[in-house]
Symmetry: C2
Subunit: 380 residues, 2 copies
């Protein structure tokens, strides 16, 4: 029992002096309180939202490997500007991994906890790149029979974000939406939701093969931002769908502004007379990711009725309240192998996740290069 | 009577081919309907918001003068990019001038209109760079006795914008605000409002002499964006006031992002533990002007709880409704020589407003270089 309770955990530390250090440490798993369970984490995705905490903005082209095969250590440097932003986490050894799934291997005394013993559950809350995770029974989402941990590893971040985008669109009075980096796992889910819910969706991708992926799953509007006709294609799709809200995973560069500009052109197509301050239609872009960490830049060629802002899942869930959020979670569990199915390029162990050649691949956050961590791979 | 009814009017036309043409035309003043009056416009300011319509984004360094002394003509070229944005007003001869004040010289048959005969009134609604303006009696703001047209020329745009900023701050749950280009006429009004209403205000200026102007009227927090200590000064003022909303007249460049960054640093000073997505305090910048027409650029170094958007007076007034707006207008009329007093560098005739050397001055929209047009100068 005491042996079973030690577990490997991945840690990220930003050290005074400007170095990121990634390590594996052996930590004791706590004895569960009556309302808690211990989940053996069998699958946890590496989402872009995990990589912010994991890499801390370090320049991973400077990454160096040391340590042993079982306990690899990766170090990399951080620029002074990034170090300034990391002041709040300096010299703290932080666990990583937002979500995952696994088997309940131990349970506290309460009936609710005991009822979960042996069940496959999905969990959210950080420190998932760990062999074992202690968590409240009430926070476990029980997966339907026949669902593996790998099937259920991505039950929260992407599915709830995709559902949150559609809910935000409705709440703010829009009737159709735009999504960038649209061929991602999240983007594919969003297409399946919008097809099921009959919501207009304009997908923006960067490559023709990404457009193909989306067309195959039934997407109607796919615009390739690398095409010379992009602005015209986008404007036409916006005019057809009436989309006036966008969710942008890129963040940096000119894309957010281009979307607002195209929305303005589409809005003015139906205008009857010249309006000196542009269309009165409110046009909104929410930036929810930072695939391009560079500065955001836009020409204000879209009138005065516009907004750009940050969008984050947690405040959204807090805003709608527990019951509304629970309904979303139950939809995810019920449709985890269809609407909310994720696909992964590769499954790695904790030590595997710290191999430089693997980091070079998943660190790019390229569409179609998503990794799954199995923290118990080779250790069961 | 028929002679009295012809009046000069300033017109701005964007011509196919890429030329802006500014002219004076003689137009017949309409016979007022029962509910209307004719105002002889004696004073009308040249606000930045007028210059958008007037110059249409033309490159005024290419401006050429022709015509006669009484009927000058100014032409200038527009870039292809600007021409694209001006498609909606192509070859339309548009009158200019948002607001003004003058004497009611003729009135329709209704008692409300007749009651205004001989009164000095402030009016809003465009086409104020005209000798005569026909307008509904109900839309005239009667100025208190002893108020000249010049005193009352700027009753609407700046005063209501300044009041609208404070009202928006309250409505969106903030308790103090930031203002850029803060030594402007509008900025000075905002200081007087905030001092009277005990609202914290952080003023951002670009020059030490502008800081002096504001300190003289009682401003507490003035930060000079040209000073090497600007970011520290701004952060300290934000921490002291708790300001989490800003109104920015500049638009282009990096200032909006710098304000958000300083707000984030101020918010994190009171944070107890590292939050990977930054502070949860919502930070907002509204861009209401475009003194810098260049692109807006920002690094997203201020967490995820932020927004940047356009802000415009008319939608704000529509949102609060007629009665609330009327209360604001009455406050302006009552305090037009104190809180809402404007100062002008120079008073010009309609022909004077089209002199290249004058355009070169007021076209810069520099703080302290505000012009007043008297459309009846030399013609009364």
């Amino acid at each position: 029992m005491t042996n079973a309770r030690m577990g490997l955990q991945l840690r990220s530390t930003v050290k005074t002096g400007g170095t990121l250090e990634l390590t594996l440490v052996s930590v004791p798993t706590p004895e569960p309180k009556p309302e808690e369970v211990i989940v053996r984490v069998d699958a946890s995705p590496i989402n872009p939202s995990d990589q912010g905490l994991l890499f801390a903005g370090a320049d991973m082209s400077t990454a160096k490997a040391s340590g042993t095969a079982d306990r690899p250590v990766v170090t990399a440097s951080l620029s002074p500007a990034v170090m300034k932003a990391m002041a709040g986490r300096l010299d703290q050894s932080l666990p990583v991994g937002n979500e995952g799934a696994g088997t309940v291997v131990q349970a506290g005394a309460s009936p609710a906890a005991q009822a979960l013993l042996g069940k496959t559950v999905a969990i959210l809350g950080g420190a998932m790149y760990s062999q074992y995770r202690c968590i409240k029974a009430a926070h476990c989402l029980v997966l339907p029979p026949g669902t593996t941990a790998a099937d259920g590893a991505s039950c929260f971040v992407n599915p709830l974000t995709a559902l949150g985008m559609v809910a935000t669109m409705h709440a703010e009075g829009h009737t159709a939406l735009v999504h960038t980096a649209a061929a991602s796992n999240l983007g594919q889910m969003l297409n399946r939701i919008c097809i099921a819910d009959r919501v207009g969706l304009v997908n923006i991708v960067r490559k023709p093969e990404q457009a193909e992926v989306l067309k195959k799953i039934g997407a109607t509007h796919v615009c390739n931002s690398s095409a010379p006709t992009f602005m015209d294609d986008l404007t036409a799709a916006l005019a057809t769908t009436g989309a006036t809200i966008a969710f942008d995973a890129i963040g940096g560069g000119t894309l957010a502004g281009q979307i607002l500009t195209a929305m303005e052109i589409a809005a003015n197509r139906s205008a009857k007379e010249y309006s000196r301050y542009g269309s009165t239609t409110h046009k909104q872009v929410y930036i929810y990711g930072s695939l391009d960490r560079g500065p955001t830049q836009f020409n204000r060629t879209f009138g005065m009725a516009w907004g750009i802002g940050g969008w984050l899942l947690t405040p959204f869930l807090q805003k709608i309240g527990f019951e509304a959020a629970q309904k979303l979670r139950e939809r995810v569990a019920a449709e985890i192998k269809t609407t909310f199915a994720s696909t992964y390029t590769k499954e790695v162990s904790l030590a595997g996740a710290l191999q430089l050649d693997e980091i070079a691949i998943y660190g790019k956050q390229a569409t179609g290069e998503k990794y799954l961590v199995d923290p118990n791979k080779g250790l069961r």
